[in-house]
């Protein structure tokens, strides 16, 4: 009975994380379209939510990576998954509060790694998988997006040079409908799968799925897709502002190049099964599209804050995940009391943050 209650709490928490993932990462998908006026904000967010939902059904390779290649799935218990999820949600809320586009994916992976480490020690962490599928791609992907967006915008400016800016801008705004849709699709494909992987891990731990027969049930796909789409529609306006206008002032061609580069990198990585941070990729693309026009066009102070948040995400979420696991263990390894108490506390903390945020507190500013 207690195990069933914990499973319900874990699935609910995973879907809550998926919601915050969509909410937090809306900015990745829509910021360029909004700041270049390719689409009105509400339409852009609704458009992104629909494509996020569809994208979640396209592939399950990333879900398999999260479920099998980061930690030993035999070492996973539901309280471990719960600790990891709370670590990720807490970090997501903190970075949202400060308007920083950090990675929900790395927060989730960091939380699970920390929680597993606290429960079973370093032997349960699959170091090769963590390094090869998460850490190395985390360095390569934004760099690649930076270079691709930079080369792409230089080529675009060369092609449309000497044309009247009005029609050219209108053309690229139209193109952003396409690049934005593709980006939302790739975001849904890569990000919703992480939650699917985590819920499936919980089902393995609960005994619903045999460890040797890892597969994602249909209801998990549908619930995860719906949750990320709902979160996306709700929209994290604070991060949209940072991504859309605080890194660079984008023109429509730059918006198209950044979104196109981002979508290309995310889709190629999803195809290979790498659980990339879409946030890192899009930020890299935006910076590349800005720096290629003029290095000083990028507000490197804001970019620096973002990079610090990137570096901190994995260890910070891991520490919180480990701490949450420790707290739930105080109430007993298989008791539902720990997860219930932590859930109530995190709900209270979230409400307090939202309330403070609604009153206008807590923005993080950086010098240019």
């Amino acid at each position: 009975m207690s195990a069933d209650i914990i499973l319900v709490i874990v699935v609910g928490t995973a879907l809550a994380f998926d919601f915050t993932n969509g909410f937090h990462d809306t900015a990745n998908v829509v910021a360029a379209s909004i700041s270049t006026r390719a689409m009105p904000p509400r339409i852009a967010v609704g458009f992104a939510a629909i494509f996020n939902f569809v994208g979640a059904f396209l592939s399950l390779k990333v879900a398999a990576t999260v479920g099998k290649d980061i930690v030993d799935s035999n070492a996973i218990s539901m309280t471990v998954v719960f600790g990891g999820l709370i670590g990720a949600i807490a970090w997501n809320l903190a970075t949202w509060y400060f308007g920083l586009p950090s990675s929900s994916s790395h927060a989730l992976i960091g939380g699970i790694v920390g929680s597993t480490f606290a429960a079973h020690g370093p032997g349960a962490i699959l170091g090769d998988g963590l390094l090869g599928k998460v850490v190395i791609p985390a360095v390569i992907a934004p760099t690649l997006a930076f270079v691709v967006a930079g080369v792409a915008i230089i080529a675009a400016y060369a092609i449309v040079a000497k044309q009247r800016p009005g029609p050219v801008n209108r053309g690229y705004r139209l193109g952003q409908l396409l690049s934005s849709g593709l980006l939302a699709l790739s975001h849904g494909t890569n990000d919703a799968q992480k939650t699917m992987g985590i819920i499936t891990l919980a089902l393995v731990a609960h005994g619903n799925i045999a460890p040797g027969n890892f597969h994602v049930p249909d209801w998990v796909v549908i619930a995860s897709a719906s949750s990320i789409a709902l979160g996306t529609y709700t929209g994290g306006w604070r991060i949209i502002r940072t991504m859309g206008s605080r890194i660079i002032k984008m023109d429509p061609a730059q918006g198209f190049a950044a979104q196109g580069a981002g979508a290309a990198v995310i889709l190629a990585a999803s195809h290979a099964g790498y659980p990339l941070s879409t946030t890192h990729v899009i930020s890299g693309g935006v910076m590349g599209a800005g720096a290629a026009k003029r290095v000083s066009a990028v507000r490197w102070g804001v970019a620096g804050n973002i990079i610090v948040a990137w570096v901190l995400t994995l260890p910070a979420a891991a520490i919180i995940g480990a701490a949450i696991y420790g707290i739930t263990r105080i109430f007993g390894a298989s008791s539902a009391v720990g997860p219930v108490v932590v859930s109530v506390l995190i709900l209270g903390a979230s409400a307090a943050l939202f309330f403070k945020r609604a009153r206008g507190g807590g923005g993080l500013e950086a010098t240019a």
Partner: protein, 80 residues
Amino acid sequence: MIVAKIIDGHAAWQAVWTAAVAGVGVTIVFSLAVLGATRSSDLRRDNRPGQAVIFAGLGFLGFAATIAAVVFAITLITTK
């Protein structure tokens, strides 16, 4: 050497070059579409219908290539 052991070099390299070609390629073909449409409209206004048709063709081809690239990307993801 250690990196080569823990990362699937073939898959990683394939992801890198695919992303690079697709990201730059799509922007180039779409820029050709924008160029074609803009020039075609200007030339039509200047009463040069022959050249306007050529640029309209370029615009159409660029747009068709962009759509084809997007469809190919989605197909690639759904068929693996």
